[in-house]
């Protein structure tokens, strides 16, 4: 006898019959009837009409019947709230039952009934169950708090359940601890501001102990909770890692991946010189590889995560290439992921193996996979220079197969190889030309036409080839038309005598017979260029093209760092931060990897800021390697900048001493009384404080209207390094507002659109206050001037040098990174004039070792001129003295983050032979002195 009998029905109204049976006197019949109801439920039939009849069966001492009724209640209580209330009494009674199983069942079911009226009755039983003597009941009750919170958060807080739940973290039973942690994490997720999971070394220790004892699922909750903790130093990080590593050998893959997350995150704090660091790296590889022998669904999730891990720390899996080799019966989603990782791991050492594999894949059956494999060969060529030749010959072999889509993909990637290694592999052009006729996909046709145009001088019959395309010009896609136009113009410039007719033909096709504005515009431009100044035309059209960048497919470093914090979650599968998942950013705190601790900072600084330009050098293009710690905010997130970034995660340890005196500005600049002497827990409110003073600056405008010194624009990003986009710029400060004046020039042949800009975290929290607005698309050779307003409420991270700013600019073509140094005086605020008495007191109070001496050479200005020039850049003269014929100026200035700098400037008037100024600076954060001195020099000398 099986349950399938419950599905059979008679013709005569099923519900009607069930109703009769439910109300039967016979116990057995009742139970059978409830089973039939449940069976209907399992196939999605609506049996809610039987609600009162089923609830009537609830009062029973038969546990199975009770369970079944509870099952039914959970499904339908929401739709029958008035009826559900009928069940309350039984619930309350069951919560007192001597059998812990029944107590737990009752409190569990009550929590699942999402009806407000019931929740009121739930509070008392729940309170009792949270303190129940039986751990099974306690752990069920812990989960129930989370359920109740979901229905009525206020009620849970008012009733003090959150505190009880926190107490359960110290429970003697590890399962109770795990459930309490799970419940608290869930509640904390919907209340990101609350300080629910107050993690400190003691509670962490408790969690680590519970980790060893609780079930696999509990371990996942605990590990995920641990991952949110930031250890206070590298030693603590190491000790947590040591206790987490045994989890890597767990049979449950979710436990393994959660442990990997904790380790990847805390590793960030460990010095690479440490022996333990190397041990940890070694320990991480086997479990990751083991995940690949699991079921395909698990493999898929694992591979998506490994893709991130390989980008962040390629050294972990660099010897494990072979496990990513594709088996022919892997599901396609696994195959594609493996391929992606293979390319990431490709290096000179293993390229031969990789290529042999890729070639094998290129003859498989699945078209998608074959295409990706061919593309992968091209990516290898671009990534591993030494292999380029072999890749090209592999591609040629593939072209010989004449399989249509293989040939087309191969031609597309060969075009990229030409772009990367110009004048190296042109010998293959002949082979490519043989396949001209078989190309039917626009991308392949366009690639082929590009090749013909680019190398027209080496292809004897280039004109014939291009002419053959011209026949069906109007049937081609825009991509092909544009390429054909350019290619023929190139051809004409290279072989003007034979191709005059052809170029006229294509120009007329493009300008007169086409409806496409892009095509017409380009046609006209060429036409005019050719007719007015053929020499200029040659310079423009045949200009040397920037090389294509090596790895365009890497995830941006900041996004990568954030995603590393989300290993194992959906975010890691989609490679998007959870903020992309939740509308309005509600409840989303950006996670970031912990910074390295102060103790190891001195030795580690070259690594923590690898992108830092040496002082004095204005330009440095950031290498696009994955191990760049500099957090360039990701550009993928919809609108480029949406208001100031959240302040929650913004303050980093490294910046603490920089923020000294942050409290001053908190107190309020107008009534400024407190001397900066007070040592302040600076990491509390500095960004907010500076925001306040910024506001104040705007309203009061103490500073002069003229605004501070503006340096001439310098080239920040040369076109060579940004696929034709040239950026030059400078910084200005006027009436309290900072801006970045940019000049964007399009030196490419392609229209640029969709500009966006983001800054990496920097020492003073500089951030764009508005999106970068380039209103019209930027046509080739066009230049626009933009003034981008900045604020100082962005995330803070100490940079090396201090005034280093890393910028990412995006357009429709790619993302580019550059870094620049900003003059510190743009951060001098308008209310930087200190009271005389205060000045004296502060000067004395700052220890002498914080004093720095500088000389400003060859500055033939008198004290008045110096003073007024400095004042226009918000360096204020507090007092002036004449000592032995020398003018001593006592000056003060304040930075946007509330740091005061005091200065003594010695000027020798009327002595033409002695024009050097002597400057002494005193500041609580002495590292700014050097930059303040540079600001003095720039202001006084220009």
């Amino acid at each position: 006898m099986t349950d399938s009998k419950y599905f059979t029905t008679t013709k005569k109204g099923e519900i009607f019959e069930l109703k009769a049976e439910l109300n039967s006197d016979k116990k057995e019949k009742k139970k059978e009837a409830v089973k039939k109801v449940i069976a209907s439920m399992t196939v999605g039939k609506d049996v809610s009409a039987l609600f009162p009849d089923v609830v009537n069966c609830m009062q029973t001492d038969n546990l199975e019947l009770k369970k079944l009724v509870y099952l039914y209640l959970m499904n339908y209580a929401k739709s029958q709230p008035d009826m559900a209330i009928m069940a309350v009494n039984t619930f309350v009674k069951d919560c007192e039952d001597p059998n812990p199983l029944i107590r737990a069942l009752a409190v569990r079911t009550m929590g699942c009934i999402r009806v407000d009226k019931i929740t009121e009755y739930l509070c008392e039983p729940l309170r009792k169950c949270l303190k129940d003597e039986d751990p099974y009941v306690r752990k069920t009750a812990a989960v129930c708090v989370a359920k109740l919170h979901d229905i009525n958060a206020q009620l849970v807080e008012d009733q003090g359940f959150l505190d009880t739940l926190k107490d359960l973290i110290s429970d003697s039973n590890p399962m109770v601890v795990a459930n309490a942690v799970a419940a608290l994490s869930e509640i904390a997720e919907s209340h990101p501001s609350s300080n629910l999971l107050d993690l400190n070394p003691q509670s962490i220790n408790k969690l680590l102990t519970a980790l060893n004892e609780c079930t696999e699922w509990g371990q996942i909750f605990i590990l995920d909770c641990l991952a949110n903790y930031t250890p206070k130093d590298d030693r603590e990080a190491q000790s947590i890692c040591e206790r987490v590593t045994p989890r890597l050998s767990h049979a449950n893959s979710a436990v393994v991946l959660s442990a990997v997350k904790v380790l990847m995150k805390f590793m960030e704090m460990l010095s690479k010189d440490l022996d333990y660091y190397g041990t940890l790296l070694k320990k991480l590889a086997p479990p990751l590889v083991t995940l690949l022998s699991a079921e395909p669904e698990l493999q898929y999730v694992a591979l998506r995560n490994i893709n991130l891990i390989v980008q962040k720390r390629p050294e972990i899996l660099k010897h494990e290439m072979k496990v990513f080799f594709v088996k022919y019966n892997d599901p396609i989603y696994v195959k594609l992921e493996k391929l992606d990782i293979m390319i990431r791991l490709a290096s000179q050492a293993n390229i031969a193996q990789v290529l042999a594999e890729l070639k094998e894949y290129a003859t498989e059956v699945d078209v998608d996979f074959v295409r990706k494999a061919v593309r992968a060969i091209g990516r290898c060529a671009i990534k591993v220079e030494q292999s380029a030749e072999r890749c090209v010959s592999t591609l040629l072999d593939l072209i010989q197969t004449k399989v249509n889509y293989v040939v087309q993909e191969a031609i597309v990637v060969i075009k990229d190889i030409f772009r990367k290694y110009p004048n190296k592999y042109e010998s293959v052009i002949a082979t490519l030309c043989e396949n001209l006729d078989s190309l039917d996909e626009p991308e392949a046709r366009a690639a082929m036409i590009w090749i013909v145009g680019e190398y027209a001088e080496r292809i004897d019959n280039a004109d014939e080839l291009l002419e053959s395309f011209l026949e069906g010009f109007h049937d081609e896609s825009t991509q092909v038309q544009l390429q054909l136009l350019t290619a023929i113009v190139k051809l004409f410039l290279k072989k003007p005598t034979e191709t005059q007719e052809l170029v006229q033909q294509v120009l007329s096709l493009a300008t007169q017979d086409s409806d496409n504005p892009d095509l017409r515009d380009r046609g006209y431009i060429y036409w005019r260029l050719l007719s007015t100044d053929p020499v200029a035309a040659k310079e423009v059209v045949l200009a040397e093209k920037p090389l294509i960048s090596e790895e365009t497919d890497l995830i941006e470093p900041t996004l990568l760092d954030e995603l590393i914090c989300y290993i194992g979650t959906l975010a890691s599968v989609y490679h998007k931060p959870p903020s992309a998942f939740v509308e309005g950013g509600r409840g989303v705190v950006h996670k970031s990897l912990p910074p390295r601790t102060a103790s190891s900072e001195s030795t580690e600084s070259p690594e923590t800021a690898p992108a830092g330009a040496p002082p004095g050098e204005q330009l440095d293009v950031i290498p696009t390697q994955g191990d760049l710690l500099g957090d360039l905010l990701n550009l993928d997130l919809g609108p480029p900048v949406s208001g100031p970034p959240l302040a929650t995660s913004s303050v980093q340890m490294g910046a603490v001493d920089l923020l000294g005196g942050g409290l001053d500005s908190l107190i309020g600049a107008p009534n400024f009384v407190a001397p900066p002497a007070a040592t302040v827990p600076a990491n509390l409110g500095a960004p907010m404080g500076s925001g306040l003073s910024d506001l104040f600056d705007l309203t009061s405008g103490v500073g002069t209207l003229s605004g501070s010194y503006v340096a001439p624009k310098a080239v920040w990003l040369p076109a060579m390094k940004a696929k034709g986009l040239e950026i030059s710029g400078t910084f200005t400060r006027q009436v309290g507002s900072i801006s970045m004046d940019l000049q964007l020039t399009n030196k490419a042949l392609q229209v640029m659109t969709d500009f966006a800009i983001q800054f990496n975290r920097n020492s003073f929290g500089l951030a764009p206050a508005a999106p970068l607005q380039v209103h019209a698309p930027l046509s080739p050779n066009q230049t626009v001037e933009i003034s981008l307003p900045l604020n100082t409420v962005g995330s803070v991270m100490k940079m090396e040098p201090l005034n280093n700013l890393q910028v990412a600019v995006k357009n429709n073509i790619d993302v580019f990174y550059f870094s620049t140094l900003y003059p510190l005086h743009i951060l001098f605020v308008e209310d930087g004039k200190m009271d005389r008495q205060m000045f004296l007191a502060t000067w004395k109070d700052i220890p002498n070792e914080n004093e720095a001496q500088f000389q400003i050479r060859d500055c033939p200005l008198n004290a008045e001129a110096v003073s007024s020039r400095l004042q226009s850049s918000n360096i204020f003269t507090v007092a002036k003295r004449n000592v032995e014929g020398q003018d001593m100026l006592y000056q003060s200035l304040k930075l946007t983050n509330g740091i005061w700098v005091l200065a003594e400037l010695r000027v020798q008037p009327g002595n033409p032979s002695f024009t050097d100024l002597e400057l002494s600076l005193k500041c609580r954060a002495p590292e700014v002195s050097q930059h303040v001195y540079q600001a003095y020099e720039t202001i006084l000398k220009n």
């Binding site: 399938s4 039973n173 799970a182 050998s249 022998s293 999730v301 003859t363 039917d440 979650t569």
Partner: protein
């Protein structure tokens, strides 16, 4: 010459590629309506059979309409093969995380950020439990036991937190169906629901119940190793590793504390353990020390990957060729023993997915029998065991669709085999000691090596 039908064809396949990519990696948008609170974990579960019928649904929160599965069906249609349905699918309001097991899809509905592995592991655990309870995880078995299924699902998950997933505990809470019990139940009116709290549920050894009693105390260990390998055309090994497991069947009374040691524990450097194993002891002494669960369970799984340790027990000589401009080809494969450590290789099966243009095959095996399915184009050759005196071979003609171009790709051969009494890695159990109980148990170890994903490229 680029005629309209041609180019539109090309375009179609490009679009196909793009949209499939999108199914697994959707263009991002906001997935959840604003203001929805954190509803953790699995919201609902749908069981779907291969013909696309939803035959069971279970909701842990409110009821979610079956129509959410339409997104799944859409993805399934795109994927063509059932195995290729992406395991994570996003829909405007939910995520669907699914597994494919025993010809059934387990589709779970998720509403918030959640670790997908957690869900996938849990779903596999559900399938394992069904297997354990009903002897098979099939639509018929689930439908026949729908009430137990419902009770199990309720017991396994509470508000998204897995509650009891250990089979020992579940079996105390909900008794598995047996023919005898259902007869007894219907006569006596007793139920299949346990009415006391399972003893293991909250102890520090949740995997073992108290008060276990056997008249014959026995402990058996099966060391099962599977060779995953890719062999290239020329017969050299592209990739090979061993996936090993030790499955245990422990029927011991009381609370036995076991120690299992190996002759060569150094082989095991990449191991996953059952929670019962004391990790510290393994780290320091390389001994597996544990209080076992009662009954069948997987003690450890391990991986041996260093190339020189992985012996390849068989070789295949092959010659598959298709003639240009002719509708036939030749097929000839021979299997022989290689590094088989002197043991007999048995249970050999060769499976080949032939190219689509193959119409039929006319072959002669020297031993065993072969079948060719002209619809799926799968050739299966059931070889049996290898006798070194006369190597098994299969040769003959391949008929191709006339006029079709000769196939570009050469098929890969998938090989299955079995070697009894051998762990190919050389792993050997040294001894098993028992503490904590007085009786003398009967102990046994069995070794077997099998082919895992063993592929030969031609």
């Amino acid at each position: 010459m680029a005629g309209a039908p041609d180019s539109s064809l090309g375009c179609g396949s490009v679009c196909g590629a793009v949209s499939r990519d999108r199914a697994s990696l959707p263009a991002f948008r906001s997935f959840f309506p604003a203001g929805r609170k954190g509803e953790k974990m699995i919201h609902s579960l749908f069981l779907i059979n291969c013909s696309g019928d939803i035959f069971l649904e279970k909701h842990w929160k409110s009821v979610v309409s079956q129509s959410v599965c339409d997104y799944f069906f859409e993805a399934q249609e795109k994927a063509v093969d059932v195995e290729n349905v992406p395991p994570v699918i996003s829909t405007p309001h939910h995520y669907l995380i699914s597994i494919y097991r025993d010809k059934l899809f387990f589709v779970s509905v998720i509403q918030t950020e959640v670790p997908p592995l957690f869900v996938i592991e849990f779903l596999h655990r559900v399938a394992d439990t069904f297997q354990d309870y009903f002897g098979e995880c099939s639509e018929a078995a689930i439908k026949d036991n729908v009430v137990i299924v419902y009770e199990l699902l309720e017991e396994m998950l509470d508000n998204g937190f897995p509650l009891a997933t250990e089979s020992n505990i579940l079996k105390e809470l909900i008794k598995p169906p047996t023919i005898l019990r259902s007869v007894v139940n219907s006569i006596t009116g007793s139920s299949n629901v346990g009415d006391t709290l399972p003893t293991g549920q909250l102890s520090n050894i949740p995997w073992r119940r108290a008060g276990v009693k056997y008249t014959n105390n026995e402990a058996y260990f099966d060391v099962v190793e599977e060779i995953d390998a890719i062999i290239d055309k020329s017969g050299s090994t592209v990739f090979a590793e061993i996936q090993g497991v030790i499955d245990a069947c422990i029927k011991l009374s009381g609370m036995p504390d076991l120690s299992l040691s190996f002759m060569n524990p150094r082989l095991l450097d990449d191991v996953s353990f059952h929670p019962c194993i004391r990790f510290k002891r393994w780290e320091s002494e390389r001994v597996l020390s544990f209080i076992p669960p009662d009954g069948n369970f997987r003690l450890i799984s391990y991986r041996v990957s260093s190339q020189n340790l992985v012996a390849i027990p068989v070789y295949v000589k092959h010659s598959i060729s298709f003639k240009e401009n002719s509708s036939c080809g030749r097929f000839d494969i021979t299997i022989g023993p290689k590094q088989n450590m002197g043991k007999t290789i048995e249970g050999i099966t060769v499976t080949v997915h032939m190219p689509k243009v193959v119409l039929n095959m006319n072959l002669t095996p020297t031993q065993g029998s072969y079948t060719f399915d002209p619809v799926t184009k799968v050739l299966t050759w059931d070889v049996g065991k290898i006798t070194p005196q006369k190597l098994p071979s299969l040769k003959g003609l391949v008929n191709l669709q006339s006029g079709a171009p000769k196939p570009e790709e050469n098929p890969s051969l998938n090989i299955q085999f079995k070697i009894q009494q051998l762990a190919i890695s050389g792993l050997k159990v040294n001894r098993l000691d028992m503490y904590g109980e007085k009786y003398k148990p009967f102990k046994g170890v069995k070794y077997v090596t099998k082919a895992g994903k063993f592929q030969v490229r031609t």
